[in-house]
């Protein structure tokens, strides 16, 4: 095997994801779909005075997409709403901390794309 991709933290986030489920009260939500496997992630964000007070995600997918969603929702909790728009794919790759092959970039960025979709609707 080359560089380990299924590092313990990825597997931990996959098996015990943070912020999984749909919060009842949210201000913005968005979804993204991975066209090669049909995996879907939806992200829900509640804002309080311009700050992310609650966040969650729903979806089905591989370890990379689900760990990514878990990490992203953890990261944005407490962030200013303007800050959300400044997030980039690079942030997702940094959080995951693994070398993502081009074939898996759709998985790695699924939650980010869902959030981006939600921000579009604001």
């Amino acid at each position: 095997m080359e560089e380990e991709i299924y590092k313990q933290n990825i597997l931990d986030h996959y098996k015990n994801p943070c912020n999984k489920g749909k919060i009842k009260d949210f201000d913005l939500s968005g979804s993204a779909r991975n066209i090669s496997c049909g995996d879907v992630v939806s992200v829900f964000v509640k804002l309080n005075k311009g700050i992310v007070s609650q966040v969650s995600f729903e979806g089905y997918g591989c370890a990379i997409s689900q760990a990514g969603a878990s990490m992203l929702t953890d990261k944005i909790k407490g962030m200013k709403s303007e800050g959300l728009k400044l997030l980039s794919p690079g942030d997702m790759y940094n959080m995951l901390g693994i070398k993502v092959s081009p074939g898996r970039s759709g998985c790695a960025l699924l939650a980010y794309q869902a959030l981006e979709d939600g921000l579009k609707n604001v």
Binding site: M1, L11, C37, G38, D39, I64, S65, C107
Partner: protein
Amino acid sequence: MDPKEIKKDFPIFQNHPDISYLDSAATSQTPQAVISAMDDYYSKFRSNIHRGLYDLSEKATNLYEEAREEVASFLGAEKDEVIFTPGSTWSANMLALSLEYSQILKKGGDIVTSVMEHHSSLIPVQKLAERNGRKLKYITIDDDMRLRLGEAGELINQKTALVWISLASNVLGTINDIGKIAELARGNGALLVVDATSAVGHMPINVKEIGCDLLFFSGHKMLGPTGVGVLYGKKELLEKMEPGVWGGGMISEVTKSGASSTKSPHRFEPGTPNISGVIGLAEAVRYLKNIGLEKIKEHTEKLVSLAIKELETIPDVRIFAEKDPKKNIGIISFVLDGVHPHDVGEILGRDGVAVRGGHHCAEPLMKELGIKATNRASFYLYNEEKDVKALIDGIKEAQKIFS
């Protein structure tokens, strides 16, 4: 047939001697003979066909038309019944447009297809049904991953205008009982279109025995190059059909007010075709004929049988495939519970086992099976028993990583 010997004909295996390539259902590998035939076109006689009055063009034209004969004899068809296309997707789209444009389908009649169709075949006919306001009906599958023929008998009736169905499933490996479907179509005066993309080059095929009106496939899943394919049509039918796509090289007369097309099959080949691709495809046919389709089929049957036996020993593996190797084209889908197909695919890939993970462009089938995606291993003439072993080891490793 010894796959070790076969491998010597394929440069990819010299460059990657350790790869277990189990993704031929996505695209097969190319023997040197095919690569050389295509190279010859580019380095020795590149020119356009059917038009030049010089040696190079004559040579290219001859090889292009010889390719038509080669493919025709491979399919048990006549030369004029073979149309070269850019592949199955284009064949299906062009054919759907052509059937509509020609107005040869029973007026207002239904279209019958199945839940196991590949998107490239299904969507063109789905759009055709939508445009014409025709009902599109689906034959479902049973627990053995086979078409429900009883249901087919009910769905295909006097109201059916068109039956559009695959010969083999690109996900389940199931080889459909097309003879029975053809009987139903014929008995009800419906046209039968067969998507043979997963089957051609993997089992002996004779269009007359199948009894279809039209059939299509791609070159790249049968050792040929990408970007080339075939649409077969019965002569008397093609003569009645108008092209769905227009361009140069297929026209008998053009004026400012209109155009008339030339004879079949050339009128279905608008524009400069993939000449090197067609030449390469014919070479792939020669290569396959030389080895023998029966032998290739027997070989993949052994691998399918072994793989199913081994997969069944792994707890949490669910197999979605035709389990009778004789009725399987060389494709097995499976799910490893608890590990997503992308993760299984990645772990296998890092160990040099090439499989696919996803919905395999068959979302209606995934829905029918109640799953989102599978892993798919597909076998061809160059695969060995050690590839099956590598697959099984990789699945066990994935299971360990995620345990």
